[in-house]
Amino acid sequence: MTDEDRRATTTAASDHGLDEGRYLYCVVDLRGSDAGRERDAERDVAAFDVAGVDDEPVSIVTSTGERWDSGQTPERVEAGIGAVVHDCDELYDAADPRLLKRWLVQHQRVVDEATAQFDTPIPFQFDTILRGGDAGVGSWLESESETLRRALETVAGLCEYRIVVGRTEPIPTTAIVTEDDELAALESRIDAASEGTAHLLKKQYERQLDSRRRERDRQLVAGLEERLEPLVATLQPLDRRPSVSLADVSSTTKAAGGEESGTADGATDESAKGDEVTDDGEPVCRYAILAADDAIDEVGSLLDSVADRDGITVRFTGPWPPYSFVPAFDEDSDEPPRQTEVP
């Protein structure tokens, strides 16, 4: 079969199933180091034993064509990085939300287990499937090896946490006016003005009050960023509102995966879950941070001090796999982050 034929066949099959699909959970660093000590890759691979989505057996595939199934002990691990996958022939798409939830938890469990065994991996969204069998996975790992290696170095020893700061109560007017001459002057002009003029002055007063409130929130955000930055490895501001929330999730996997790719703000369902701001008032700011375990207490107490302010709520969730720090992959390469074409 020529390449042309193969491409045609896979395209035709893509509506119904996948030819030699590999469901991708994450990419791990097989030869990383723990506190400067080189890890025993053979032992780690052997100890990695977990069931995948829909109880499928999970394997590790490398760019050098090695493949170890769950619990298998390799004689020798040559490759530096490996993809955690299972063989599949179709997308995971369920109308039943309970089944979908089960799959998501199973997906998460594999990523968690990989984290425990190989340090922080590059996680991929639910239902990311590579085509072309082990060879397809291998050549993708090969072509993206530099990006993946750099990303693995960035996240090594760190976890993602999400911070959402919201305002449930506006800053009280008196708190602003007492220390603001301009607003105080407007107040006395309103008292002295005729009816129509007073109306305009009141509007002006309200506008200025709003702008002072916004200014105070900006200062709050700037102060928080300034104090957070030295504590964390990476601080990434996110859109004030999540692009995907559980409220948007219908019963299909498509909705669950969201429309975004596995890059930048591509939060998966697990991490979006902690992010909803429905009861937390107006969002003031949101961050994804990469931080080490030992920094988290200090981040927590910093956030406590922010949450102590009147009318402010802070939601601090994690640790998550670093979904917000998955690199952007070359669009022209064989692997757009979701379902991919044959190379």
Partner: protein, 113 residues
């Protein structure tokens, strides 16, 4: 996502909500301009007062219509959604320009960015 129902019994309310939201936005813009002119000192006290009274009257009328049709919340929600839509769009523009989010705040605050 806000859906305006133009089919069925609530069609009239949906359309009225949209119209009221648009009128409110217009009145906001007029107010902003009126305040600017008032502060510029180019209007006499009488002109400022007349302008203020007219705007106050329009505002009262809008409030009455909203109250009669129990549409206060719907109009507020629609305007909130529109604000967020615009804010997000401007933030994205700002990010693309390598600028910060304050552009959006300035714009929504009525300052000239």
């Amino acid at each position: 996502m806000t859906t305006i129902d133009v089919d069925g019994e609530s069609a009239a309310d949906g359309l009225l909500t949209l119209v009221l939201a648009v009128v409110e936005i217009l009145v906001d813009a007029l107010e902003r301009e009126a305040i600017r002119r008032m502060e510029s000192g180019r209007l006499t006290d009488e002109e400022v007062d007349r302008l203020g009274q007219q705007l106050a009257a329009i505002e009262t009328q809008i409030e009455e219509i909203e109250a009669d049709h129990e549409l206060e919340d719907d109009v507020a929600n629609l305007r909130g959604d529109l604000d967020n839509l615009v804010r997000d769009a401007i933030e994205r523009l700002g990010e693309a320009d390598g600028d910060d989010r304050s552009v959006a705040d300035q714009f929504l605050a009525g300052d000239r960015p």
